[in-house]
């Protein structure tokens, strides 16, 4: 009996084991190909297709996509002031939401990391995670109801002679800040937890006032965590369109993409590249600030 015939008689699993034996590159390749296929095909792949689509156009009558190379979409993006205004409005709101969340999140995270008892800490973590258990849409629709003319916000403010913001940009800022707050608290909390208490004691022993300790010791050490959290709040605000539609009449990058998809897919693709470019710039700055070093 020849050697091949013997090999053929072995069960498949044994033959597979044999195939991988002594071939480390094949082993690593097989192990990585699954997750990498996911990453490359679904993430990078769709981005590539998006990039290609941005250079196509549509036939004005039928709305059919015409494949080819044209800079038309980018020209109207740059030349028409309305799009600059929309991009700037979106970025401005994203920055504002990020700043708001950072200011609110820091004291909460600090209390959790350095002051609260073990039990209190656990309770606070649950309290912060709890809103994430309910659907995004339910939360936004609740805000729409609360911000309404006859909503609970106006009802609560009325005795003081005040009036709620109603629908509009202020409402967008308010709702977004609420929605993304947990994404800011958790990284800061994790960052603060890692600062040894001995550093704070040392600073105090050396005679630093509490504010100086905060400014010179805690903040520099926690700053990368704040930046990491800001990546979430910034990017989530940048891409949102449902909140914007439900609590304002303003146009954001997301809402224009959503309404362009139906009749001008290539233009929507070109517009979708804007938040990507903004995010790359943002990440570059975050990297400079050391957001990826300790996380």
């Amino acid at each position: 009996m020849s050697a091949e015939a013997v090999a053929a008689k072995r069960p498949v699993s044994r033959r597979l084991t044999g195939l991988f034996h002594g071939r480390p590159r094949l082993q690593v390749g097989a192990l990585l190909s699954g997750p990498l296929a996911w990453l490359v095909v679904l993430y990078l792949g769709s981005l590539t297709v998006l990039l290609i689509t941005a250079f196509w156009t549509v036939d004005p009558l039928s709305g059919e996509v015409v494949q080819g190379f044209s800079l038309e979409n980018f020209e109207s993006l740059f030349n028409e002031p309305v799009y600059r205004e929309i991009v700037w409005r979106t970025v401005r709101t994203a920055l504002l939401v990020t700043l708001t969340d950072a200011i609110i999140a820091f004291p909460i995270a600090f209390y959790m990391a350095k002051v609260a008892s073990r039990r209190g800490k656990a309770l606070l973590v649950v309290a912060i995670l709890m809103p994430l258990w309910s659907s995004y849409l339910v939360k936004v629709l609740s805000w729409r109801t609360m911000l309404s003319q006859n909503g609970v916000i106006n009802w609560a403010l009325e005795p003081f002679g005040l009036h709620g913001p109603g629908y509009g940009l202020t409402a967008v800022w308010l709702v977004m800040s609420y929605l993304w707050l947990p994404y800011m608290i958790l990284p800061i909390y994790a960052g603060l937890e890692r600062i040894p208490n001995s550093l704070i004691s040392a600073s105090e022993d050396l005679g630093a006032a509490p504010f100086t300790t905060f400014r010179r010791v805690i903040l520099p050490l926690a700053f990368p965590a704040v930046v990491a959290g800001s990546i979430f709040t910034f990017s989530l605000t940048l891409g949102d369109f449902i909140t914007v539609r439900l609590v304002s009449k303003s146009q954001f990058i997301g809402t224009v993409i959503a309404s362009s998809i139906t009749n001008d897919l290539p233009f929507a693709a070109a517009l979708a590249l804007v938040p990507i470019v903004v995010m790359i710039a943002y990440l570059a700055v975050a990297r400079k600030l050391g957001a990826f070093e300790h996380v």
Partner: protein, 400 residues
């Protein structure tokens, strides 16, 4: 022999590279496939309605496909009705592109696009017995018949309404100036509800046709640059007064019900829904022969069959059923529109329904401007009209 070391990084790059090539190849194939579809339907219309396929997938306006009349249809034909509601014509065209639907209740601003893109097939009207008794002024219209080929079965028509809250908007408006004349509309700053669709520009055009005759607007969907700019700037002046742009009926119903908006353009569907809720609403009632003095934009809808229909027999059954006297009367009364079927007028619960909605009064419809797809070529041979792309771009600009 020395064994080669595994090199994870290099291996990873090899995998990435391979997959990238694979994916681009896939994208290229996919792209090639879709570009071939544009030339569209050469197979043409059905010659004979055969046995139903057991189901029919529809895209419709809210209120067009309701259990009251789909249940009897399902029992009669064995075709199960799966319905998807579209909020705007653009959305419907997009849904039709997926090829997963058998038919659509298309308004005039979708039909030409659907035909041009080859997304719908001609309809053999001889296979739709109820077509014979449809009101003659709905047949062979530019939005349902292209180069003398029928592309659908008329469903019904109506005017877009001006709706207001009678507690805060006094006196009862008789003109669109309450939403469009900046001087009058500023009284209701932040309370105006405007349909979020480029078609709204035509509302301004209807208004200008009446108030600025020197612009010489004939058809509010066929605007040259000067007329178009005037309409767009009117909508831009309206923007600060708008409280909310609504893209789907439910959003407007909610906002009106909560008192966040107090007047604006609407459909009968929302008006009825709000009345049922007990919300304080009034509307220029078509039932009393009343449109705001300028006239109004409106719609005349057509059931069309997808060129990729998987259930063509069921779709033909549906097209015949929905314009059968009883079903057409039901949908017309439910939605609040004039039926397309002349015999439906004997079947309505309200015996005066057809008179109230002017179903058989062609003169009335002269002041209702059915949605159309704006085209560059608007019949004067000069192709100097603003096309739908211009309308879409302008609409983004108007909202700012």
């Amino acid at each position: 022999m020395r064994r080669r070391e595994a090199h994870p990084a290099r291996t990873a790059w090899l995998v990435v590279g391979g997959l990238l090539v694979f994916m681009l190849a896939l994208a290229a194939c996919g792209g090639g496939g879709s570009s071939g579809g544009a030339s569209g339907s050469t197979e043409g219309e059905l010659q004979k309605v055969g046995k139903g396929e057991g189901a029919v997938n529809l895209i419709s306006w809210a209120g067009y496909v309701e259990p009251e009349w789909t249940k009897p249809f399902e029992q009669e034909t064995g075709c199960k009705v799966n319905n998807k509601t579209g909020g705007t014509s653009d959305e419907m065209v997009e849904l039709m592109k997926t090829g997963q639907y058998d038919g659509v209740s298309a308004s005039g601003n979708a039909t030409a696009r659907l035909v041009a893109a080859g997304l719908v097939d001609p309809v053999n009207v001889s296979l739709v017995p109820n077509y014979k008794t449809i009101f003659p002024d709905l047949k062979n219209q530019p939005y349902n018949t292209f180069e003398e080929v029928h592309y659908g079965i008329p469903h019904g028509r109506g005017a877009n309404l001006l709706m207001w809250n009678p507690e805060s908007v006094k006196p009862a408006p008789t003109s669109w100036d309450v939403t469009l004349d900046p001087k009058v509309a500023s009284k209701y700053k932040g309370k105006i509800s405007q349909y979020d669709d480029p078609m709204s520009i035509a509302e301004a055009a209807v208004y200008l046709k009446f108030h600025q005759p020197d612009l010489e607007i004939e058809n509010p969907y066929e605007l040259n640059e000067e007329q178009f700019d005037a309409a767009v700037s009117l909508m831009k002046e309206q923007q600060p007064n708008v409280g909310e742009y609504w893209g789907e009926a439910a959003k407007q119903i909610q906002a009106f019900g909560a008192g966040d908006v107090e007047l604006g353009t609407t459909w009968q569907y929302q008006y009825f829904a709000l009345q049922e809720e007990g919300a304080p609403v009034a509307a220029s009632p078509a039932s009393e022969g009343f449109l705001p003095k300028e006239g109004a934009t409106g719609w005349s809808d057509t059931w069309m069959i997808s060129s990729k229909a998987k259930h063509p027999n069921c779709m033909y059954e549906w097209m015949n059923y929905i314009v059968s006297p009883k079903a057409n009367a039901e949908v017309a009364e439910y939605f609040g529109e004039a039926p397309a079927q002349s015999l439906a007028c004997d079947e309505t619960a309200n015996k005066n329904f057809c008179t109230e909605y002017h179903a058989d009064n062609p003169a009335f419809w002269k002041r209702v401007y059915y949605w159309e797809t704006p085209l560059a070529d608007c019949g004067n041979g000069e192709s100097d009209c603003m096309d739908y792309n211009d309308w879409v771009k302008a609409w983004t600009e108007i909202k700012g």
